[in-house]
């Protein structure tokens, strides 16, 4: 864990630009995420939100700009580096091991914490054994936290979508992240599932002190959950501020919520 205190800047992206050939996905975006906050990235379809998350955790490498995480500035992040530094994420389309159980899927989130050798793990002795017990305990805490005891041993491929999202959330938590990136955590959920998910996001922050950055389409959710919101449109940054500030901005209303024709 870094030595950054609550409320200080944990991650900042400066003048990020990203292009795929002639398509400018992100142009000159700058914002920061403070430790302990829930930060939302919103914008219409194709605004570059997911690209932005991909830049943060190193899936995409921007042509311009810098990323500063936990005091270290770099021009590009690498995925394994991001993970090792304490950034974990969920995906817009659930990316779990469908044939594996809920428990095993969440256990994979602990993989970076495992120090035991292959031999120790294969024959279940020494560190292989003690670590397995320790990690299992941590994972069981997450299962309890997310109230998914009943699906502990079920293959995730057979679970309904809302639960799969919850499992993926659990796997991201298992890495004990400092920064948790959630790509549309509530997409395709019904009202009750959304309420549950919102509660978990709030509790994650309270219980684990995790910083959360999320992309979400449901404006109600965004406005209720997040401390600050950054708005993107066609790769450009339209606004940045508290939910109230952002929703009062004429530019945002025009671009995101549609120009009114009264």
């Amino acid at each position: 864990m870094s030595s950054i205190k609550e409320g200080e800047v944990l991650l900042s992206v400066e003048n990020i630009s990203l292009a795929f050939g002639a398509v400018q996905a992100i142009s000159n975006v700058t914002f920061d995420i403070r430790k302990g906050e829930v930060r939302a990235i919103i914008g219409p379809n194709g605004a570059g939100k997911t690209s932005m998350l991909n830049v943060i955790n190193g899936f995409y490498h921007p042509q311009e700009g810098t990323i500063t995480f936990a005091g270290k500035t770099r021009s590009r992040m690498l995925p394994h580096e991001a993970a090792a530094q304490g950034i974990s994420r969920t995906f817009q389309n659930v990316a779990l091991f469908k044939g594996m159980s809920t428990l095993d899927n969440i256990m994979t989130g602990r993989v970076l914490k495992q120090k035991a050798s292959l031999i120790e793990q294969a024959f279940y002795f020494g560190r292989g054994r003690s670590e397995e017990i320790e990690h299992r305990e941590f994972v069981e805490n997450i299962i309890d936290f997310l109230q998914i005891q009943a699906i502990r041993n079920q293959p995730v491929g057979r679970l309904p979508y809302g639960l799969q999202k919850r499992v993926e959330f659990g796997r991201a938590l298992a890495a004990e992240p400092e920064l948790l990136l959630l790509d549309e955590p509530m997409a395709g959920m019904n009202l009750e599932e959304k309420e549950d998910m919102s509660r978990y996001i709030m509790e994650v922050r309270e219980q684990f002190g995790t910083t959360v950055a999320l992309i979400e389409h449901d404006m109600g959710v965004v406005m209720d959950l997040s401390d600050r919101v950054v708005v993107l449109d066609y790769g450009c940054q339209l606004a940045d501020g508290t939910p109230d500030e952002v929703s009062a901005s004429q530019q945002v209303i025009d671009a995101y919520l549609g120009v009114s024709h009264d």
């Binding site: 299992r136 069981e140 805490n141 299962i143 109230q147 005891q149 009943a150 502990r152 041993n153 009750e192």
Partner: protein
């Protein structure tokens, strides 16, 4: 295998005394298990007693006095049981409150019993109590076990259970003999448990059960159906209910079988399978739901598996009827199925509370689950009749225990009258309600209000229905609505039913479809639907249910057949007061709420318009506008053409 041995309840005549005795004699034997964080955690008798001791001394430290009342609300947990016995150890009485009860029901019980100390499991239950604000002035402390979400409150009454235990541990260290002294003060005749009666017609009453007699009654039960100290029991019935008090507390204290607590309600089936209990009591509807679930799953299975299943069931049933077992059906179907249902090790299984369909009964017996019917009342410390293992009869509830006498009052020419009983475990009376006690208990005999008779050939008790629930049509035909309702509910597609006809010209029915099964059926038959209301209104569903009703009608005398029926737009729900917590129909409430619909059933109209609002458990409301179609089966209940309908089905 060891022999069943019972604690000498003449000597150790209260719950805390038996517990202390067990902890003294078998300190390291396992008493309880709880699944937590995916692992079965074991508690020995010594752990059990220590926890009770700490809670009791903590309560004493907080000023709990003899004669006061402790309460528990929440899921079944070891702490629930420990808190109850701790209260009794201090000479208090305990009351269990159903976990799904609404705030105003809790309000009523808490004020009625003047609860001082209450154990609420988690945030959900704590919220319920805090919501009552200053309406529960008698409550001094609210203890909680699961701190999640509760830390945000700063109500001075709130206290963590572990803090209470620490408080108690401190007192034990200071004066180690206090607890034993308190326990020794307890007498057999002290009221230990205030058990809520199911209250089909009114607010629940509280039956005062004394520790000594209760334990004696447990011994009488166990004499008939012994358990070994190595036997496993899964505490999945609601703890406030008398039978769970008997099994999870009484029986386990007396014969030291292991009580297992499942992790969550959702994990019940999986956890039960892991434990493979030796004894289960399930409500008839749960047994039926098990069969229904098996059958639904079979609908999804491959053609080969379906064939194998049907072949196995048929073979097994035939063998069972001939009084033997079919090893091939056992090997290929029934053994794996029993294991799957968590019934692999069951040596004794029971059902009670209502009739169980003979088909279901037979299915389980054929499967090798030794299912037996029992019968009893809260006021009489639960069950007091049970089938002998080799003398099971679907129509009866078996023979009384050794400490039980049964007589039939005011019998009619056929011997049917009121069942009147006296048992060793009988209650002292209703708490703070002498009037109700006097109405039910005369010269030490409990008037149960049930109609029944004792079968002359073998002395088995046969229970028909509540006397008050027997109904009579305008033509003077007496019938038992529940009897017909149960027959209808034996159909896998029908969830709840209400039979009407009292002081009317003919019988009608309001039916609720069993959503999950009908939904599956709809899928297979390409019937599209959006929700419960919509599915209930589909003509295809109506046709299918009509066939089911016709089949039931064919088994009834003509005057007792259902002439008209309709499918209700929602399920009957205990939260709406339409069912009791034990899921019996509250006819008064139903009659009032659906008066408009009922009138339509007794008019010439073919449908009734419904425009109503329903409130979901989370408080959101939804408006329902629909037309309910009334199906008229004619004078003969549509039995005339059952043959044809049967073919279509």
């Amino acid at each position: 295998m060891s022999e069943a041995e019972f604690c000498d309840v003449g000597l150790y005549d209260t719950f805390p005394k038996v517990l202390a005795h067990n902890a003294d004699k078998w300190p390291d034997e396992i008493a309880m298990r709880e699944k937590s964080y995916g692992i079965w955690i074991e508690y020995s008798w010594s752990d059990y007693n220590t926890a009770v001791k700490q809670i009791a001394m903590g309560l004493r430290e907080l000023g709990f006095e003899r004669g006061q009342v402790v309460g528990m609300i929440g899921d079944n947990r070891p702490e629930w049981v420990q808190f109850e016995i701790a209260g009794q150890a201090l000479g208090g009485m305990s009351i269990g409150i159903y976990r799904d009860c609404m705030a105003d029901e809790a309000d009523y019980l808490i004020n009625y019993a003047e609860l001082t100390m209450i154990m609420a499991e988690d945030e959900e239950q704590v919220d319920k109590l805090l919501e009552l604000g200053d309406r529960i002035p008698s409550v001094k402390k609210i203890f909680y076990d699961d701190p999640r979400g509760i830390e945000k409150y700063d109500d001075p009454r709130l206290m963590k259970l572990s803090d209470l235990k620490a408080l108690g541990a401190g007192r034990i260290a200071a004066s180690p003999d206090d607890y034993d002294r308190e326990v020794a003060l307890g007498k057999a005749e002290d009221v230990a448990v205030l058990c809520t009666t199911s209250g089909t017609t009114s607010r629940p009453k509280l039956a005062m059960l004394q520790g000594g007699p209760f334990l004696q009654h447990c011994v009488a039960y166990l004499t008939k159906d012994p358990k070994l100290p190595t036997d496993n029991y899964c505490a999945v019935l609601p703890l406030p209910w008398i039978m769970e008090q008997v099994y999870a507390i009484g029986h386990s204290l007396v014969c030291r079988n292991i009580v297992n607590f499942v992790e969550e309600n959702d994990t019940m089936m999986a956890d039960m399978r892991e434990i493979a209990p030796n004894f289960v009591l399930l409500a008839p509807r749960t047994w039926e739901a098990l069969v229904a679930d098996v059958r639904t799953r079979m609908m999804d299975a491959s053609a080969f598996k379906q064939k194998l299943f049907n072949w196995g069931v048929e073979r097994g049933m035939k063998a069972f009827e001939a009084g033997r077992r079919d090893w091939l059906a056992d090997f290929l179907l029934f053994n794996p199925l029993r294991d799957r249902l968590g019934l692999g090790q069951v040596t004794s299984a029971a059902t009670g509370g209502a009739a169980l369909g003979p088909e279901t009964f037979k299915f389980f017996l054929a499967m090798g689950v030794p299912l037996r019917q029992l019968y009893g009342q809260t006021e009489l410390a639960g069950a007091y009749t049970l089938h002998e293992p080799d003398d099971v009869d679907f129509d009866t509830v078996g023979l009384p225990f050794d400490n039980t006498e049964i007589r039939i009052d005011n019998p009619d020419p056929e011997g049917v009258g009121e069942i009147v009983t006296r048992t060793g475990g009988m209650f002292l009376g209703f708490y703070k309600n002498q009037e109700a006690t006097d109405a039910d208990v005369k010269d030490g005999w409990m008037h149960t209000g049930d109609a029944g008779y004792i079968r002359p050939k073998d002395g088995h008790l046969v229970v028909i229905d509540r006397i008050a629930d027997l109904a009579e049509t305008n033509q003077g035909i007496r019938f038992s609505p529940q009897f017909i309702e149960n027959k209808l509910k034996f159909s896998p597609f029908i969830g709840e039913t209400v039979i009407l006809g009292n002081k009317r010209d003919y019988l009608t029915a309001m039916l609720c479809i069993r959503f999950d099964i009908v939904a599956k059926w709809a899928e297979q038959n390409a019937v599209s639907f959006t929700n419960y209301t919509n599915l209930s209104a589909r003509p295809e569903v109506y046709d299918m249910i009509e066939r089911e009703v016709r089949q039931v009608n064919a088994t009834l005398p003509e005057a007792q057949r259902v002439r008209k029926f309709l499918l209700l737009y929602k399920e009957l729900d205990a939260d709406d007061g339409e069912l009791t917590r034990t899921r019996k129909v509250r006819r008064g409430v139903v009659g009032e709420r659906y008066a408009n619909i009922i009138d339509t059933l007794y008019s010439d109209r073919k449908s009734v318009h419904v425009d109503t609002e329903i409130t979901f458990q989370d408080g959101t409301k939804s408006r329902i506008v629909t037309d309910l179609v009334v199906v008229d089966l004619g004078h003969d209940g549509g039995v005339g053409d059952t043959g044809e309908a049967g073919k279509a089905a």
